[in-house]
Each structure stands twice: as structure tokens, then as C-alpha cells.
């Protein structure tokens, strides 16, 4: 299972713009590199990241806040940082998808005071 490191404040004031940072363990293998034995390492990329926010009183799949389509030029162990304007208490749902059936999901609660 992939490791992730998510840095989001657990609470924020209404209207405050917070920073979201996510880091995930993934080789982002380009398909151009060779192993030390000389064979080509097969392409294995993380393709898409999405961040949704599900308001506590609304439920459902929530709204799409931010998404990223990633390509081979993104560094290994992809890092993304973006912002979010806190409006209501709820949870972030972060999802990563990639080659070889890679799929990972994380949730984190944001309390708005």
C-alpha cells in the first residue's frame, strides 16, 4: 500500500484560505530508464489526482476542488500543494490513480469555526 503524507490544518476559520500539501510514494517510472542490469524499466505512472470536499451537512460525493493530470515529467514521489477556502465543516477526499491498477484514497476532516 502506498504511503502518503497529507498536511492540512484540522480546523480553520470561515473564509480562511488554507494550504493543502500531499505527498505520495510512487516511482513515476517514465519507461525510458534502464535498470543497472540494462533492461528497460516498464512505464509506471501516477496519472490523476483529485481533491474533493464533502460538506458534513450535504454528504454525497461532494464538490471537486482541484485535480491534476500528471505526466512522466513529474518527479518521483509526487508532491502537490494548492489552496482551499474554508466555508463549512466537512472532509476532504483525496484520490490518486495510475498505471497497473494503482488506486489510493485518503480522507481528512476539516472543522470550520
Amino acid at each position: 500500500m502506498a504511503r502518503t503524507l497529507i498536511t492540512v490544518p484540522s480546523s480553520a476559520r470561515r473564509g480562511e484560505i488554507i494550504e493543502v500539501r500531499v505527498l505520495i510514494q510512487h516511482p513515476m517510472e517514465t519507461g525510458y530508464r534502464r535498470s543497472s542490469e540494462g533492461s528497460i524499466l516498464p512505464r509506471n505512472l501516477l496519472r490523476r489526482y483529485t481533491a474533493r470536499f464533502v460538506a458534513a451537512d450535504a454528504g454525497g460525493a461532494g464538490e471537486l476542488v482541484f485535480a491534476a493530470d500528471l505526466h512522466a515529467a513529474i518527479a518521483a514521489n509526487p508532491y502537490l500543494s494548492f489552496n482551499y477556502r474554508a466555508t463549512t465543516t466537512g472532509k476532504f477526499v483525496f484520490a490518486w490513480e495510475g498505471d497497473e491498477g494503482f488506486s489510493h484514497r485518503e480522507e481528512t476532516v476539516l472543522r470550520v469555526v
Partner: protein, 256 residues
Amino acid sequence: MTNYLLTLVLALVLALWSLHTSAQDPRRSSFDAMSPATQALQRDDSQNPAMLWVKEGEALWSRAPVSGTKSCADCHGGLSRMRGVATRYPAYDTSSSRVLNLGARINLCRTNHQGQPAWRTEDSARLSVEAAIALQSRGLPITPPAHPALKAAQQRGATLFASRIGQVDLSCADCHTTLAGKRLGGAKLPQAHPTGYPIYRLEWQSLGSLNRRLRSCLSAVRADASSFSDEEFVAIEAYLMQRANGMPLETPGVRP
């Protein structure tokens, strides 16, 4: 009163002396010569990719490898109990009568206390646990223990450090003592203090051990990794830690 004064004067003298020595200490971590962008990676845990491995290590610490066996935490308690441990390795281990680095010491517990096969040096699990343990000592000074067997290893390491190797016929000391601080091609030669291991090296795009770093240096001088036996590699590690005695540990370090 005189006692109090004496203490005060002593404290002052000590403070001045330590200031003086730190100003005089010519030893530098490679961190100092890194670009601001790479320094930022190490400084900020939320950006440091090595923290992904640390998180893995924390999980492994409290998980039994197979049911019926004990987890590291079952015997050792919380990871914070490992504070200071990484500053002392390599160290002499009485049970195996050998000088072991931290990774090998971890493996000893894994084989003897958990009945599991030893992890390979660059096994991601071993690096993860090692990083999680060493993080507990971040900021603490490197303090190699005093032991005759460790001392012998340090001396052996010092000799190897000064010996010329490889087709290029350079010693570690040529690059890391004589030429340290100078540029060799594009790279600035560091003093080679092993303050941040295991490190996340941008070149590797992953976490790696001090042993792997040393093998990279060997391949740079067109020497084979088999130029040194396992014991010799550990001896060099022991010498490098002695050479860095008193410098603060930075694990998990980031290096270009």
C-alpha cells in the same frame, strides 16, 4: 557565595570555550552547500519525501511481522524510547561479538527476536525502520561509544579512508579532506560527514543507506563495490561517525 561565583565563572569560561570551538570547528554538513530548494526539502517535514519512509517505519515498528510474533513496540515500547540510539552506531555488539551499524542491529532483533529472515541492506522496510529510529535522535550530537573493538574498527576505517582506490587512483581523503569545498566538475566536494542517514537522494529518487552512498563513491572512482568487504564498509562507517563526533544528526537528510 564564593561557590556561586566560582560556578558562574566556570560557566562563563565553558560558554566562551564552546563558542570558540564552534567558531573554530571547520566541519560542515553537506546540507550547508545545498541549494536553497534542496535545503527546503529537508527542513520541511511536509515536503521531505523521506518522511514517507519514516511513516512506513512507524507502522512497521508497531506491527507484528506475522501473527504470534512480537512487534518491535511489544518489546521496546514507543519509538521515542529509541531517542539517542542512532547517535551511537556503528557500535560493538556483545551478543554477536561484532561491530554493527544500526541497520544490522535492527536485523539482529528481526532474526533473533522475531524469527524473520534478515532484511537486505537496501530493503525499503529496513530503511524505513532505520529512518524512524534515527529521526528520534534528530538534533542530537553524534557520540560514538568508547570500546576497544569499535576503536579498532575506526582505525581500520581511517586507514581505508586514506588509501587510494579504483582506476582513478584517488582516496576518500583526496576528495573529502584535501579537495573538500572545491568543485570537481559540476559537483562541490563535501566533507562527507554522514549526518543525515538514511538519506533521500534526489539522484536515487528514493531513500538509501550510507552503504549505498559509499558504493556510489566507489563507482565514481571506477572501483568495484567488492573492493571492500562488509566488515570494511562498517569500519569506514565507524570512522566517518568518529570523524563527525559531536555534529548533530539530521536524519532524514535530503541530498542531491
